[in-house]
Amino acid sequence: MFHFILADLVRNRIGVVVLIILVALATALGVTVTLQERALRLGSARAAAPFDLVIGAPGSETQLVLSSVFLQPAPLPLVSPEVLAGLRADPRVEAAVPVGFGDFVESNPIIGTTADAVAMFGGLTEGTAFDHLGDAVAGAEVKRAVGSTFRPFHGNAGDVGEVHAEVQYRIVGRLARTGTPWDRAILVPIQAVWDTHAAHHHDADEAAAHQHGHEDDFATRPVDNAVLDGDANPGVPAIVIKPKSISDAYNLRQQYRGDTTLAVFPGEVLTRLYGTLGDARRVLSLVATGAQALVAAAILMVIATHVLQRRRQIGALRAFGAPRAVVLSIVWLETFALLAVGLLTGFAIGYGATHALSQRLGEASGVAMPVELNVSDAWMLAAFLIAAALVTFLPALIAYRQTPAQALRS
């Protein structure tokens, strides 16, 4: 029986390969949509996990999360200095770190913050945190060595920006991997960012005079956190809070949700965002399912035609003594084997494609995208295989119902 099936498949190998490729690609499409969506969802949820509560100036909640968690550059309004001072003194707050952006070096965003951020993100793997204005701590994926120096650019990553020629940072430590876009960031003292940008707004003459002052003391001037506790600073676009308890988190959010500040749980904002994206995903799945249905219909046609073309052959099999059940099994096994190989190949291709895509997306965004298979995928594969088994029964039945006399009559 297997001899016969194999001989037939080998004889029609070109058609067989084309069919398998068609089935595999249609399957891979569906698998990729499912896995990629899951990778995006899990990846961004994990990226947001270290950020319990984010406070910013009134505006878009989504933009606040995108900017503070995903470091997407956007001109955010600043929160007045008292807010940060108040939070730093608040007994419900374990840590409140400012997040100031605007500068880049190559594709790495430079984040102005405090040394508390280092502890909040899980500590250092080498070096020390920053003590001086000119010190910087690199994220786990920043391709710069501890001890190297750089000058920041003002503007967006990749754009032709304006170099802050007067400022130079030295990397003194490296953060542990967090799986968030912060792995690609370089942390510097917020005071240094304020300083740089203050100088930026001065007249050219004054800046030139100022520059010497910078060069002299930037690397050696210790970070003075007292300035954070008063109102003598420009303010920051966002503050990331680690509350002492869950109830503190809710209290804080309640208190800072008002006319002058915005307080959000990033996880909640993301969930809402997925609600919207969920519809897009449904559309994508529908498109994928539609494509699969079309391919399935086309393949069924091809198989039915093939079986009809083989009527004589199949009839002759019975004339020579093959029982009906054997003829049924031959046609069924042959077509099912074809679809099953296509399905399994499709799952493998889909998984591989998602891996490759996630890798590239992860590199571009800094969000680690976990490609994970779970029980529901096994069920999906099982459902596909069962459907294939049922569908291929149809051509097998055509063969079953043929009388051997037909083969001899023709």
């Binding site: 001989a7 003594g321 093959a322 001899l408």
Partner: protein, 221 residues
């Protein structure tokens, strides 16, 4: 070798006024060699289909050694045919992609769970007997004469009690036709099988024991 007894057999097709086959009584002695002749449309193919149990009999009896095909279910008729009948047909019905040996063994492989131990060597012997030296040659690369000889080997390897051949020489040139005819007659004699050959070939009919002439579904002779 089996005997065939037909009793009050009548085959009608819907829409046709006259029966396709109407045989009140016919007996074929075991081991005889029968020629089945008659113009096309006379019912030769219908007779063969009935005789090997590929068509259902609704009225009358078709008994091979007392086993009535008319009373059997389709599955039982299939099993009976696999056990007792060797078929040779005008169009060979060999399966491309399989070797000569693969084709000879195919019906044996499909009709039982595993091949009897000596079946392979019997198939090789049979192929040698019909003059096919290269048992592993793919059938689609063979000449028509060789193909029909493979078909004869396939029909006989199971040692059937009945050999039925439908125009076995009609699609062959004279030389190959004669070789195949010789093989059929010799092998039927060696195995003592009952042989029924539907044919127009006068050289073949002349060498058989008895001629059944079919005319409009009636048997004479």
């Amino acid at each position: 070798m089996l005997s065939l007894a037909v009793h009050k057999l009548e085959i009608r097709y819907p829409g046709l006024p006259a029966p396709a086959l109407d045989i009140p009584a016919l007996f074929i002695e075991p081991g005889t060699h029968i020629a089945l002749t008659g113009p096309s449309g006379a019912g030769k193919t219908t007779f063969i289909n009935i005789a090997v149990g590929m068509e259902r009999v609704r009225s009358g009896k078709v008994e091979w050694d007392g086993e009535n095909l008319a009373a059997m279910s389709e599955g039982r008729r299939d099993r009976w045919r696999a056990r007792n009948v060797g078929l040779v047909m005008q169009d060979f019905h060999l399966f491309p992609g399989l070797s000569a040996l693969g084709n000879v063994l195919l019906p044996q492989r499909l009709s039982r769970f595993r091949l009897p131990g000596d079946m392979r060597s019997r198939a090789l012997d049979m192929l040698a007997r019909v003059g096919i030296d290269r048992a592993n040659q793919l059938v689609e690369t063979m000449s028509r004469g060789q193909m029909q000889r493979v078909a004869v080997a396939r029909a006989l390897v199971g040692r059937p009690g009945v050999i039925i051949a439908d125009e076995p020489t009609a699609s062959l040139d004279a030389g190959s036709g004669e070789a195949v005819a010789n093989l059929l007659l010799d092998l039927a004699r060696e195995t003592k099988a009952t042989l029924i050959v539907a044919t127009h070939d006068a050289r073949l009919t002349g060498r058989l024991d008895r001629i059944l002439q079919l005319e409009n579904g009636w048997v004479s002779g």
